[in-house]
């Protein structure tokens, strides 16, 4: 009997060790630290990377920007689009095993609005503290204060927290901020295992995840914080790294591509790179001057030699397929056209036209673009002053039209899966005063089109408005539409599932990834 027991124990140990060996671990480097893991306070790309793995929303977004069910299995909107009803899955649980109920959703929305940070700005004037109700444990109703057609696209940014745990850890009415800053209170595909601030974060797979697991799931997830190229290469060479960040140098991608283990994956994104032209100050207050700058831009050289990407024909990247105006033509480099436009402007014949051109100091490709623009613009009658500024300084000078430079190099990507995110934030006069709206467009016709699209519930009509808006913006030329950014990762050949998602860093939800090799 003893012998049989020993054999069973030995077999059990072997089986356990085999399971331990079979666990797949993905290590990804990130270039910024995780500031906070509180889903009501995350604002940046890295923060959302942890949020999408630790927390779930009612719905999520797929690679086409379409809304997909998550904690809610279905939903419907009222005919006037002011009431949205979500039906929760009955089997969803938080990481501690507590069921996810409608009251958790209500609490999470109230908490988000009360803390008034993170994505709460999206719901200003749309949701109030009492706008969300729970008629039963599996039904949540959002009563909007006004028609806001992109509402559904913003719902993925409302992450649901375990209200019982958070409430138990509230201190002096802080909505559990101190607790949630360090603890995972979500129902997402991964659980927080270990977090050394400023260095690394380790997550492990949540076995009882409501969406289940397919073949080859990633068991352990490790984020290593480093923006040092030598470190990334060393980690890759030693076998510690599975996937790089998207912000590595060309040389690093090339070096990793030479290693047998890695392949480089490149995909177009919803992030566009613009030269933002201040329409409120001379000489860029003249549309002909703005068009002259656009004509004097050497798109080919920039795309091929300075910052590889895809051409951008207008204000909206083509990733928004349904709303994209595909009749727009890619802009071309034409100095004769630039001279012609300068001649039509109010500044013609008055000597060299002064122009201030700003970019983020220390960013070599932005400096190269600045130098190229200076060279070309000075051929057609401009006197360009290059003003490299630290990013913090750019955010400050962007707060007033009078301090905003004539031209500023800026990347901008959608924060929720709707063209509204691109148009309202950059061109609506109500959004002026931030780095994303350095055009200071303040055009009543543009404002009206954005408002009309927001108030329209018919997708076809909305798409029509967005297409007209794109043409209008191309005509007004508040920006030079430089390029669409491509995202690049070097990743282990065994790792599959990466697809760019046009919202924050939702493409790093590792529930969608799988390991195709046997360990």
């Amino acid at each position: 009997m003893k012998r049989i027991l020993v054999v069973f124990l030995a077999l059990g140990a072997v089986a356990l060790s085999a399971v331990a060996l079979a666990a797949t671990t993905v290590t990804l480097n990130v270039v910024q630290i995780f500031g906070t893991i509180d889903p009501a306070k995350v604002t940046d790309y890295t923060g959302y990377m942890s949020a999408v793995n630790l927390y779930d929303g009612l719905v999520t977004v797929d690679k086409n920007g379409a809304i997909q069910p998550l904690l809610a299995s279905s939903w419907e909107a009222s005919s006037d689009a002011t009431t949205y009803t979500f039906h929760l899955r009955p089997n969803a649980t938080f990481h501690d095993g507590t069921p996810v109920t409608a009251s958790d959703v209500v609490y999470s929305v109230k908490r988000l609005l009360a803390i008034d940070q993170g994505p709460s700005y999206l719901f200003k004037g749309v949701l109030g503290p009492d706008s969300v109700t729970a008629p039963d444990p599996h039904t949540v109703v959002f009563h909007l204060q006004k028609v806001f057609s992109p509402f559904l696209a913003t719902v993925p940014l409302i992450f649901v927290v375990n209200s019982k745990v958070v409430q138990a850890n509230e201190k002096a009415g802080d909505w559990g901020q101190a607790y949630v800053a360090d603890h995972d209170v979500g129902s997402g595909p991964y659980m927080l295992e270990n977090w050394t601030r400023g260095s690394r974060m380790q997550l492990k797979r949540f076995d009882n995840y409501v969406m289940g697991w397919g073949k080859g799931p990633i068991d352990n997830l490790r984020f290593v914080v480093t923006n040092d190229e030598a470190t990334v290469r060393s980690l890759a060479a030693s076998g510690e790294l599975t996937m790089t960040s998207e912000f590595q140098a060309n040389e690093t991608y090339a070096a990793l591509a030479k290693m047998d283990r890695f392949r480089v994956v490149s995909q177009p994104t919803g992030t566009a790179f613009y030269l933002k032209l201040n329409t409120r100050v001379a000489p860029t207050d003249d549309v002909h001057i703005r068009r002259a700058i656009a004509c004097a831009t050497d798109y080919g050289t920039i795309l091929k030699s300075i910052y590889p990407g895809d051409p951008l024909a207008g204000p909206l990247p083509s990733v928004f397929k349904n709303d994209y105006l595909d009749t727009l033509k890619n802009p071309t480099f034409d100095l004769a056209c630039a001279k012609d436009e300068v001649g039509k402007s109010a500044y013609a014949g008055k000597g060299a036209i002064p122009l201030t051109f700003s970019y983020v100091a220390g960013t070599s490709f932005e400096e190269e673009i600045g130098l190229l623009m200076k060279s070309n613009l000075e051929k057609v009658g401009f006197k360009v002053t290059l003003d490299p500024e630290p990013w913090n300084r750019i955010t400050e000078i962007a707060s007033k039209a009078s301090t905003t430079p004539n031209v500023t190099e800026v990347f901008f990507g959608a924060t929720y899966a709707s063209p509204d995110s691109m148009f309202f934030t950059q061109y609506d006069s109500k959004a002026a005063g931030t780095w994303s709206s350095m055009e200071w467009l303040n055009d009543p016709a543009v404002d009206k089109m954005i408002a009309d699209a927001r108030a329209t519930t018919d997708p076809a009509k909305q798409a029509e408005i967005y297409k007209q808006l794109q043409q209008k913006l191309v005509d007004l030329q508040p920006d030079v539409f430089l390029l669409v950014q491509n995202v690049r990762h070097a990743m282990d050949k065994c790792l599959t599932g990466y697809n760019y998602v046009p919202v924050q860093s939702f493409d790093y939800n590792f529930h969608n990834y799988s390991w195709t090799c046997s360990n």
């Binding site: 500031g35 906070t36 050394t196 030693s238």
Partner: protein, 341 residues
């Protein structure tokens, strides 16, 4: 008793230095470009949200009121809230400071363990090949920026040889948390985990070597020149004339007095390394206070900036005070002079 008053006087001066430092860094942190409320809330926050947060943080109050509030928090050990990590700066420093302290301690031990014998050998074999090799290596260490050495070691040891880890304090997957002293090497020993201790040591080697190179060079050169000076003293000649073995003369009669300038340098090095370790910390993904400070500056996280500077300043002052006490122990003349001054 006079010496006790000397120490008290130094302590009072230290407090004044820290008050001056707090005023200077408070003003500097306020003039760094960028609106901290806007940065904390993210680029797309509404103007109303920014105004509300500015009010909540007291940024709409006059500077002297803000300073008063800051100082009253400071005396209670409250450095305020970090805008970047969204938690108290004191909590951040509690986790980041031990990492830097451990790195700096190992660096100093390494620099002393190699620098002092190198200096002694160079002095003993003055102008020989031993001295020349030591001179070249010391100069290399002093003139080469530590981050450059860090990158070289990364590529050589991490990329090509794969013999030592190049990132973090412990291997990925290690679930050990240094929650007793915050120092991995000490806590692993206290918890009886030799594997963790070894892992921690392996992770320390490259960053510590990178940081130690400059200090090592300085210590070696200063020890050498002090030893040469002391070797010409009458009492050393007398010791030699009495036939005392060379090794005893060197280590017993020459090294102790020669150690005073080295000790002074060590004090300065120790404190300045706390702030200067940031590039090495960034290269090796070391979750320390220096890297935390750099990120705080980049994000205009002014409470964190002031917290890092105040802690570094306090440490600087404390270490120099300790060095003064130690110098008095090594050389009674300093003690007597200090007491009379």
């Amino acid at each position: 008793m006079e010496y006790f008053f000397f120490i008290v006087r130094r302590l009072l001066w230290s407090v004044l230095v820290l008050i001056g430092l707090s005023v200077v860094i408070f003003l500097i942190a306020r003039v760094v470009p960028g609106d901290p409320a806007r940065i904390a809330l993210g680029p797309l926050a509404t103007a109303e949200q920014v105004t509300n947060l500015r009010h909540k943080m007291g940024l709409d109050r006059p500077l002297y009121v803000q300073y008063g509030r800051y100082v009253s928090g400071l005396v209670r050990g409250d450095f305020g809230q970090s805008l970047l990590t969204q938690r108290s700066v004191a909590s951040d420093l509690r986790s980041a400071f031990p990492a830097t302290l451990e790195l700096v301690l190992v660096t100093i031990v390494l620099a002393m363990a190699l620098g002092i014998p190198t200096g002694v050998l160079a002095a003993r074999f003055k102008d020989s090949w031993v001295d020349n090799v030591s001179r070249v290596l010391s100069l290399f260490g002093v003139v080469t920026p530590s981050f450059f050495i860090a990158l070289l070691l990364q590529l050589l040891v991490g990329y090509f040889l794969h013999v030592l880890p190049v990132n973090g304090r412990l291997s990925p997957g290690a679930s050990f948390t240094p929650d007793i002293t915050g120092l991995v090497l000490i806590d692993a020993l206290l918890r009886g985990q030799p594997a963790v201790w070894l892992d921690g040591l392996r992770h320390l080697i490259l960053p510590a070597v990178s940081l130690a190179a400059a200090s090592l060079g300085q210590i070696a050169r200063i020890t050498r020149s002090s030893m040469i000076d002391v070797s010409r003293k009458d009492y050393v000649e007398a010791a030699r004339a009495f036939g005392i073995p060379d090794i005893v003369t060197t280590f017993k009669y020459m090294l102790k007095p020669s150690f005073i300038p080295t000790l002074t340098i060590l004090g300065l090095e120790f404190a300045s390394l706390l702030g200067n370790a940031f590039l090495v910390e960034m290269v090796f993904g070391w979750p320390g206070m220096a890297a935390y400070g750099v990120r705080a500056i980049l994000h205009k996280d002014f409470n964190a900036i002031m917290g890092v500077v105040m802690v570094t300043g306090a440490f600087f002052v404390l270490v120099n005070l300790l060095i003064d006490v130690l110098l008095g122990t090594f050389d009674p003349r300093i003690r007597i002079r200090g007491a009379r001054s």
